[in-house]
């Protein structure tokens, strides 16, 4: 379905806001570009050029009179939230199929993007279960797995603090890995766990951007070089901050105990 809307800027703004929300919850860049393209097309804007990287989206539409409209969105923070991503996908499908009026679509978008900044017990349990699973996966014992659980809770709390207060993520990633390192070495010293390395590696899986690395290589192989490069760089910088945090813990406590 397709219809012509008088206010081209409003259409473009809606399409870009949907795109921005998608990038913010961890969508692939080609998906985002395609979504912006489809939404504009649904509202009768047939000539749309869109370019997106992980920190910015920009698009230009040309209407039938030859007048161009350009807007851009800057994206500062990103995380992973698949529930919201799925809702955004459903919304963009609905927009393309039904072409609702823009105010209505905006209301739905706002409803989807309400940020939950409170303690979420399910996510916290997810951290604990994942850390325990991966401690065993990488060769730890059952006791190591138990020891990684309280550290995972701390990691979740630090992560929540960063999300709520919008502070420097790199610094707090390094800090939380240092805390995790200190805790793991201390636990093993007092007999709660066999191998500090195994406890650490289980918790590291929560901090390290392994999936981001794979996605960056994927994007580069798909032709999104800019986005892939930025994502690669981001994952390397994050991984370095994790390594620095653990290095501090290992160098200080490792020599004491």
């Amino acid at each position: 379905m397709q219809k012509n809307v008088a206010d081209k800027d409003a259409v473009l703004a809606l399409a870009l806001d949907v795109g921005k929300s998608m990038v913010r919850c961890g969508a692939e860049i080609n998906r985002v570009e395609e979504t912006v393209l489809r939404i504009c097309y649904a509202y009768g804007l047939k000539r749309t050029e869109v370019f997106s990287v992980i920190s910015m989206i920009t698009a230009t539409v040309t209407d039938n009179d030859g007048v161009t409209h350009t807007q851009m969105r800057r994206i500062h923070t990103r995380g992973v939230n698949f529930r919201r991503l799925e809702n955004l996908n459903a919304l963009s499908r609905k927009i393309c199929a039904e072409v609702p009026d823009i105010a209505g679509a905006r209301e739905e978008l706002a409803a989807i993007c309400v940020e939950n900044k409170r303690f979420d017990i399910f996510v916290c349990m997810g951290y604990v279960v994942a850390a325990m699973g991966f401690t065993v996966f990488f060769g730890g014992s059952l006791l190591d797995s138990l020891a990684s659980a309280p550290i995972a809770v701390v990691l979740y709390l630090v992560n929540l603090y960063v999300k709520v207060n919008g502070v420097n993520k790199l610094f707090f990633t390094a800090l939380s890995s240092a805390i995790a390192g200190f805790a793991a070495i201390t636990f093993v010293h007092f007999g709660f766990g066999h191998d500090a390395n195994m406890i650490m590696i289980g918790d590291i899986m929560l901090l390290i951007p392994g999936l981001m690395l794979i996605n960056s290589v994927r994007e580069m192989l798909c032709g999104d070089l800019m986005s892939g490069l930025l994502r690669l760089l981001e994952s390397i910088v994050l991984a370095l901050s994790v390594a620095c945090g653990f290095a501090v813990a290992i160098m200080t406590l490792g020599s004491v105990w």
Binding site: R83, G126, V128, M205
Partner: protein
């Protein structure tokens, strides 16, 4: 093959997927699908690890399995494939290797750094190529659907 060790790897990998299903805030009704995805991926990984000694191949086949699984499940339950893929494959993403690489770099252990960075690249490439092989095929099948948008240009 050490069956006990293989079973521990598969089950703990699936538990990892279960945990990450919540960490990534996947809808709760997908938890079982994500966990089973982790189970499938780790099972394929155990076999490819047994039959091959090339890191690229060891990680290529599980990535193919994960993507096929995610695409099939996405069609069955009418949901996007990427979240299912991300949760299923999480056990194999080179988190540990990435950590060791940067750790050796920070500590100035150059020889170890060279070994791990080589492994890391091989694994990342194996996973990414495995995923892309399947997505390109699926994309080709789907292409007719939005050909109209491409034709406009």
């Amino acid at each position: 093959m050490d069956w006990k060790q293989a079973l521990i790897t598969i089950v703990s990998g699936a538990i990892g997927s279960l945990g990450f299903s919540y960490v990534f805030q996947s809808p709760k009704r997908r938890t079982l699908i994500n966990t089973f995805g982790g189970f499938v991926v780790c099972a394929v990984y155990v076999f490819s690890d047994y039959f091959s000694d090339k890191e690229f191949l060891i990680f290529f086949f599980p990535a193919v399995a994960a993507t096929v699984y995610a695409e099939i499940m996405a069609r069955v339950i009418k949901a996007p494939a990427t979240p299912i893929l991300a949760c299923s494959i999480i056990a194999l993403v080179p988190g540990g290797r990435l950590y060791y690489t940067t750790y050796h770099f920070v500590m100035g252990q150059d020889e170890l750094f060279e070994v791990t960075v080589h492994q890391l690249l091989e694994i990342a490439l194996g996973l990414a190529v495995g995923i892309i092989c399947v997505t390109v095929i699926v994309h080709e099948i789907n292409r007719q659907k939005f050909k109209q948008i491409i034709d406009v240009e």
